[in-house]
Amino acid sequence: MSEAVLRIALVGNPNCGKTALFNQLTGGRQKVANYAGVTVERKEGRFVAPSGRSFQLLDLPGAYSFAATSPDEAITRDVCLGRYPGEAAPDLIVCVADATNLRLHLRFVLEVRQLGRPVVLALNMMDAAKRRGIVIDVDELQRRLGVPVVQTVAVQRGGAKALIERVDGDVPEAAPSDPVPLTPAQMHAQVRELLTATVTMPRETAAVDDALDRWALHPVMGMVILAGLMFFIFQAVFSWAKPVMDGIQAGITWLGAWSTGFLPAGSALHSLLNDGVFAGLGAVLVFLPQILILFFFILVLEESGYLPRAAFLLDRTMFKAGLTGRAFIPLLSSFACAIPGIMATRSINDPRDRLTTIMVAPLMTCSARLPVYTLLIAAFIPARVVGGVFNLQGIVLFVLYFAGIFSALAVAWVIKRMRRDKSEHALIMELPSYRVPHARDIALGLWERSKIFLRRVGGIILALTVLLWFLASFPGPPANATLPAIDYSLAGRIGHLLHYIFAPIGFNWQICVALVPGLAAREVAVASLGTVYAMSGGEDAVASQLGTLISHQWSLATALSLLAWYVFAPQCMSTLAVIRRETNSWRNVAIAAGYLFGLAYLASFATYQIASALS
């Protein structure tokens, strides 16, 4: 008879290492970072203990208490209490606690114990605790709590060995619960009592953290450091990527020439490969190094524990704009992609604050905008050195990112003015200890980003590029045609039709054609421009020449107008779909799409008209 699979739930305060432990046990690669609120969904995985026994593992969002105040905490509460729809309560609860911060984490441990279910306490980050000279009498803690206690280091290989051994044994007895639930004051008193009896701490906070925070959290120096960091990142995106980008371009050009060499020139198949696949995909693929450089810095900042400090520094500005402090992490996640950012708003308990954050999240500059921005910047902004150190192109990229942040704050401010409910919520956020990022985690994070990007290139971008090539090729030109064939095609006709709407903002018909498939995802517009120009001009290696080509054919005003368009336009169907799911309302989708397209048109119109008048 096969043994039933034991269901284990990982619970604990935010940022105690639950997901790192989950990844360690299951071999998963769920996102981890050094700040609270990364996990907002329930994740599930399986692992097999050395004895051959199978376990089902649930990774739950972090919670400070079962008195849930936000939707993500409600998931944890409902799963632990067996109230989650279609799911029984877990057989065993592994309560993870940060060994360096037991004063805060033991309170939740007492709440979990109160459930009267089998519980194992995992004291995580024991390596950091030892480094700080924290001594924990594990046996005494176990005796006083009445639940098994194990020590773990979730970020170290083999760091969960003690936990595996414990869960692989007999299921612990139900934790002893108090007959009358403890009041919060009683719980705090009990935590103090436990700490006095079992924990010796040389000092409450780490000396390194205090020293670094004196600079990082300084009202003036902190802002200077933050601005300097962001500035450096955008400089690096332009300066470091060039050699690799040149290599990729050369590779694509060679591959294009080699693979189409055996096909008769002028045949439809030759055109599909050359103008569709290589011109389209090649135009996007070259931006991989820049995306990876940007993500390298994002991952390092995430792992280091600096980001919550940045949230603290920006809280006053965000508060004045009508955003809650808890909006910082969702908005920060939106720099990678608006979808996880919008989902991360589940950590915001006030529904109106959450809706405001969802509405402004698409304004954060996601990585899909990077190919569009860098294509246009490289083509139109000279690579000049300013002030002896700064790259002008990097400065323009910094300004574009800042424009996204500024417009998000402005929109949030307008929403705040329109709201009847004027309630305000102060930022309460844990500042984690600084940590040296693990090279392996950074490498894995970059590998994941590369896979996501390449999957998009080989999936939706390739599919839409092929469809665009088809629409740009058929129907063929008439016998007496004088213009390029694409002008007579379906795509050409759509482009010419849309041109009436977009002419006031300086877009030519080729840009109009690219905007249509670009509605699916922003980078598709770059691939589409590659295909459209390859088919208009018969360029053989447009993948490597798109930038040069548009710099000759477009005015500076048009390029700036397109940049302004991409700061605002919601050219991403997935984002709109997630807004629908998270708000449960098509009306909110219509409002978001309407105001973003409206802003995009207005900004592009103003940019084009002003730039045209000045030039």
Binding site: C337, I452, R455, G459, L462, A463, A520, E582
Partner: protein, 100 residues
């Protein structure tokens, strides 16, 4: 029409069809799953021939909730599919304010 023209037309037809199906599935996953389920049911009807029924079976969608489950990692990457009957979503709920 030469043999090359015929092969070219077939290859382009297949590639464009595959691209259209991929785009449809990626952009409208739930609709695509519904269409796939209907097509599969129509082919798998008792009156159909054996090969059509086999094709219908093969076409049956794997999950009823869409192409990716309801978990979401980022645009372009899917998170794990939740196991419960209910999708793991927490949509906004507004309660009307009590009138004074």
């Amino acid at each position: 029409m030469t043999a090359f023209d015929v092969i070219q037309a077939i290859v382009i037809g297949i590639v464009v069809l595959l691209a259209a199906v991929t785009a449809f599935r990626k952009l409208l996953p739930k609709t695509a799953t519904r269409v796939q389920a209907r097509l599969s049911a129509a082919l798998n009807a008792p009156a159909r021939s054996a090969w059509m029924r086999a094709l219908g079976l093969r076409m049956q969608p794997k999950a009823a909730t869409g192409s990716c489950g309801d978990g979401c990692g980022s645009c372009g990457s899917c998170g794990p599919k939740p196991v419960g009957n209910q999708p793991d979503v927490q949509p906004l709920h507004f309660r009307p304010r009590a009138r004074p």
